[in-house]
Amino acid sequence: MMNYSETSFAQSTTAPFLSLEAVRKTYPGVVALDGFSMEVGPGEVIGLVGENGAGKSTLMKILGGVTRPDSGTVIVDGVAHDGLTVEASIGSGIAFVHQELNLFENLDVAANIFFGREPLKAGPLRLVDRAKLRQMAAPLLKRVGANFSADAPVASLSLAQQQMVEIAKALSIKARLVILDEPTSSLPIAETEKLLDVIKGLRAEGISVIFISHRLHEVERVADRVVVLRDGMLAGTLPKSEINHDQMVKLMIGRMLKEREKAAEAGRAPGGVALSANAVRTSTYPDRPVSLDLRRGEILGLAGLVGSGRTELARVLFGIDERLGGSVSLDGKALNVTSAADAVANGIFLVPEDRKLTGILLDLSIAQNISLPNLPAHAKRSLVSAGAELATAEKQKKNLGIKAPSVLTRTGTLSGGNQQKVVLAKWLAMNPKVMILDEPTRGIDIGAKAEIYGLMRSLADAGVAVLMISSDMEEVIGVSDRIAVMHEGQISGILDRNDFSQENVLLLAVGKKPRLAQAAGGAQ
């Protein structure tokens, strides 16, 4: 293991803005941070990477004053604290974009951006100066590339747009250090580019940035230095010259990964059409009919810009949202799905975008989560058989390599990647015909990602039709057999393997024609 002092002191010519010394934080049964130390210089962009559960968010929460460390010191701008409070953190110029979104749906965008720091009218009444508030918000929104106005209610924004508000909020603080905890996890490519530009701009202004991401290529592009966390300890730091994908992975998980090769393995020849959507209309784009054929044994990637309607399509196919028109058929037979229960009964399963809200029940055990969609099969005369339930769970735990003390462990205590595996496990324990995965690797570390890609491939190999919605360009290109691209609620084109390229996906995503290998081919 590398020694931190070697690398960090070598670089800092000026005094660091922030330094952490031997910070330790434990939760019952877990050491989240184990004597961790690091420094951040002024105007330095630190890429912070590590597996799920390595302790990244814990570290950031300590810097944000949300959690207190058990021991260790945080020195901000020369002032030592044994634990920051939220106020002290904000006061010392630390701005924070949390991993979980923290917006108020009932307030408008401007109110959210300046929440807790509202401009006040003169007088002792502490009244909010609302005109000034809007005026101050506008330039920030422009800077993050927002396409919505300052007085839009946050409830009307998509997940990605909300993430932009979060970023604007961090920028609004006259910050000396901006912490971004997986800010891109639901941002598609164009918005991600904007964000990377913003980070570069901050550096130019002498503002420090800590950038946490599981998308290592993004880290590669902006970081001046990469800090790798493993099991709550510093696994090493990489100076600018040594930052590359393989190095990071090696430090993160202690070995090299063959994830790309594995994902790229071509599938077998796909079978017949399993799920067919014909002129389906969704409530977000009621005027845009969508038609799509999904074949047995293929992984069909579904790409598109933020708000292009992919999630909505998945929700309609899964029966959560109402289908406003068109028809759907499964294996050639017309299908009328009006609830998730109908979809499940027909073997159509969804791994949703928002794991914590809709994917799993954090308070239930792993075994209870896995059996939930298929309880009657684990019951005799309507009474749940604990034995059958445990057997299924043990089998899935083994198959998927879920890391947990036991299948009776509360799911909420697992790291993100393992939680995601539990979501997969509950469907794999049944017999999927069609598996829809919405951002299946959002916030998942690179090791777990590879395992999930492997699982998707073996599902396809077993004849399941897989629809994978993803905003991660590498993933879409690396994993799919075909790629469908959505643009403003409609399928703008479908690419075959030999036409796969980042450029083509992007062209279709903005509604333009792709450049195809065989000019005769033509997009659909």
Binding site: T26, Y27, P28, G29, V31, G35, D70, F318, I320, S339, A340, A341, A343, V344, A345, L350, P352, L357, T358, G359, I360, L361, L362, D363, L364, Q368, L372, P373, L375, P376, A379, S382, L383, V384, K426
Partner: protein
């Protein structure tokens, strides 16, 4: 039995021991029978409430329903001279229908449980009062229904049949809540309704079923209450019974946020509440303090339970830290 339930049981026994020490007549068979009769009545009501609370809902119309359904039952058999088994079935069906309507408004029209059942609270009592023109529904002197009276107000081997009914219902409902597929769904919905829906559960139907169960059990207890008082002034009968039922569930470890609580807990909660009422009378405490004693004990009970949980969690954490600190150099 969970730790929480055990704690409650200990509290019940301690209170019982103290009362016995002051007035040994507390343990007389007749007193135990009287109190267990009311435990039966309120217990059935509270189990119904518990099924709704577990889904994260609430049923505030319970007291008014006890008044309305009780009034109708007595009116059916005493005035309209209907056969009591027919009237019995009618009332139960009516309870189920009302529960269904509540569940339907809540799940299909997306109204808040608090609002729907608050309106129920206002409406049902009004209807009952209108039905009797603000009078009383009661039996004429000497009007007797031996079978019905035996089943509702009678005793078998000294044990009130209402208490036996509670035990039977509790056993059945324990299995339903803690062992059946339906019960698992209820907990899942209470914890996270969205996620349950995404797992393919027809959450609407399950929630409606919970309200129907509550309606049926409320109707049943309405009949028991009617046969106990044998006379009903709709303006006041059953007033605040929803609070008794909710309090029993909360004492028994149910969270009003849903997804938590055990059937044993709600029964023990009911037992404690009735023990407290009994105590007020047996120890000659002014009746005015009846409610205050109840409120005080609930507050302290919930507080102690919660702080005890916090304390244990803290201790566990400290221990973990200590262990880790001790182990650190070895790494």
């Amino acid at each position: 039995m969970s730790k929480k339930d055990l704690g409650l049981l200990v509290l019940i026994l301690v209170v019982g021991a103290v009362v016995t020490a002051i007035n040994p007549r507390f343990l007389l068979p007749i007193n135990l029978a009287n109190t267990s009769n009311l435990i039966g009545l309120f217990g059935i009501l509270s189990i119904g409430q518990a099924f709704v609370i577990i889904t994260g809902g609430i049923e505030l119309s319970v007291g008014s329903l006890v008044a309305l359904l009780g009034t109708l039952f007595i009116d059916f058999i005493a005035v309209r001279e209907m056969d009591w088994p027919l009237a019995f079935v009618l009332i139960i069906v009516l309870g189920a229908i009302i529960g269904f309507v509540h569940g339907w408004l809540i799940t299909q029209l997306k109204m808040q449980p608090f609002v729907v059942t608050l309106c129920g609270l206002l409406i049902y009592r009004g209807v009952a009062r209108f039905y009797t023109a603000d009078g009383t529904a009661g039996f004429a002197f000497g009007q007797n229904f031996p079978d019905l009276e035996f089943l509702t107000a009678g005793r078998s081997y000294g044990v009130p049949n209402s208490f036996i009914a509670l035990i039977v219902i509790a056993i059945v409902m324990w299995v339903v809540l803690h062992r059946s597929v339906f019960g698992r769904y209820l907990y899942a919905i209470g914890k996270n309704e969205e996620a349950a829906k995404y797992s393919g559960i027809r959450t609407g139907r399950i929630v409606i079923a919970a309200y129907v169960i509550c309606g049926v059990l409320t109707a049943l207890s309405a009949i028991y209450f009617a046969m106990y008082t044998r006379s009903i002034s709709p303006a006041s009968h059953g007033q605040f019974y929803e609070l008794y039922a909710i309090a029993a569930a909360v004492l028994g470890g149910f969270s009003l946020r849903g997804g938590e609580g055990s059937l044993v807990g709600v029964i023990l909660g009911t037992v404690l509440l009735q023990e407290l009422q009994n105590l007020v009378n047996l120890l000659g405490i002014p009746s005015s303090l009846n409610f205050a004693v109840m409120g005080g004990v609930i507050l302290i009970g919930v507080l102690v339970d919660q702080q005890w949980g916090v304390f244990r969690a803290r201790r566990r954490m400290l221990e973990a830290t200590r262990r880790n600190v001790a182990g650190a150099p070895a790494e």
